[in-house]
Subunit: 304 residues, 2 copies
């Protein structure tokens, strides 16, 4: 089976969190809300709306409550938020998010650089958050550097598996395997995705790729071939990582939707709406964005 | 078998032909020669050096004889040239090319727009060229729009197969399946590549993809999964197609080599040399190029 007959693929849009947090200029709250409202009407499954972090740590997302509180909650769309700690989780739950997403790195040095915690400290914090959520929201954890670390290099698969086991023990319902700095390759992705899914069939695994080295969509296909049905992506391909400067960001939502549709998979996302939004995104962020289909048009485009 | 245990993958660099022919400004002959000489020393399998076309049709490649005649012919590297007709083939054979590449489109309307010939006229010309070459060089044909046509849309697989049968009957030893305007998707690529290879096991099939809609490397992996071992790519991702304006060009050689190496496949290409060349390419063509790894560094790059 090279390509599975998946009935449905689910895409989470992460532009307003993973994308915007990297931007240099603050994007006005009303623009964020308008974008999320428009995204909600494209048929997208889920939106990572914002991060309930300290405004000092990520000033770009200092308006988390305002955004989360003022967006239209379209039925059928799940609204997620990243939380860095118990305080952030409290704020997110107060805003009635559908899903809480926490982060921890598979590599200790990246965890330390990114979160200023040892793996043990992170796991302890995850445990507290899991208890705090206690069924009030879906509980997801993003495992950063799951396919490689910019400091340490290869991350042993055994460490990924051990960490997922600990997440499972803490009651996490979803795990996002994140290629934080675009180091993953399709063969590796396929192998790790097979392993985690066969070991934890009841956990929802999400593939989160960056296109830092051009392999983003190839990795998405490799994950799909391993049976993954949930994917993160960012409108226009916004996003990135401070440890991979000058590089492309997250895989591009409209390019991925376009590819999956061309391959015959159902995402229930209206591609034309996404493309319309992607084409105005440069006006919002005030720079070009990496997405290709918004420039070339979909492959169904005809010339006379 | 999701990923084959290929012993070796072969990459043809098409930058100085497919890439340069699209450039607005003439690139001096000595710069072309220097670039090809440097490419010859990276371990690359083959280089499509130039096109022996009319200088009026493609002024950028008006120096075909000078380039072909003055480059160093490094042992082990194959030097190919595109020829549009019998006259061009004569010129190329006079320059002692290792491989003659001719073009024809799978879609009649693209053939007419691109070559000003009906399929029958093209096939007749291919027949003449095949007779003319008569063992003096390896005989390859590039089947343009094999995965879709910007005018007609879907190209029936049966037409691709019928056309390859005709190439086979004429004695062509190699067929390049070209996604001329970046319309191919991984599932389609995988299926067509399986079909042609099982039907004509003695023909050398080459996958030629463009990254117009971001699917270039995903398509390369899908072709690899179907057992394809020969790939075209362009340094920096140069190239393109007049019928897909504003879009990315050919898949990027250094990004593809980087991916294949990360996946454990042997290309025998020295990635660092390629990256050095890709980084000076913007100075040669006087604009940015789409390649990602030259910007981000390879995935083996470490940060402190």
């Amino acid at each position: 089976m090279v390509f599975p007959k998946a009935s449905r693929l689910y895409i989470q849009e992460v532009c307003t969190r993973d994308g915007f947090q990297m931007e240099a200029e603050f994007i006005p709250t009303e623009q964020k809300i308008a974008l999320i409202n428009a995204l909600s009407r494209t048929g997208i499954s889920m939106i990572e709306v914002t991060s309930f972090t300290s405004p000092k740590a990520i000033p770009m997302l200092a308006d988390a409550e305002a955004v989360m509180g003022q967006i239209d909650r379209v039925p059928g769309v799940r609204y997620a938020a990243l939380v860095p700690n118990v305080r952030g989780c409290e704020r997110a739950l107060f805003c009635n998010v559908d899903e809480i997403n926490v982060v921890m790195s598979a590599s200790p040095s990246h965890n330390l650089a990114n979160l200023r915690m040892t793996p043990e400290q992170s796991m302890d914090q995850l445990s507290q958050i899991a208890k705090q959520v206690d069924g009030q929201a879906f509980l997801n954890v993003s495992l950063a550097t799951a396919f490689g670390c910019p400091f340490e290099g290869d991350v042993p698969v055994s460490r990924v598996l051990d960490t997922v086991q600990q997440f499972s023990d803490l009651g996490f319902q979803g795990v996002s395997l994140c290629d934080t700095t675009g180091m993953a390759n399709p063969k590796q992705v396929n192998e790790i995705c097979w392993q985690v899914q066969s070991r934890w069939p009841s956990i929802r695994f999400t593939a989160h790729f960056h296109n830092t080295r051009g392999m983003g969509l190839a990795n998405a296909v490799a994950a799909l071939q391993a049976g993954i049905t949930h994917f993160d992506a960012s409108l226009g391909g916004l996003g990135g990582c401070p440890f991979a400067p000058g590089a492309s960001g997250n895989i591009c939502t409209e390019d991925m939707v376009h590819m999956f549709q061309a391959m015959g998979y159902e995402t229930e996302v209206d591609l034309e709406s996404l493309l319309d939004m992607a084409r105005v995104l440069p006006d919002i962020v005030k720079h070009e964005v990496p997405g290709q289909v918004a420039k070339a048009g979909p492959s169904t485009r005809r010339y006379l």
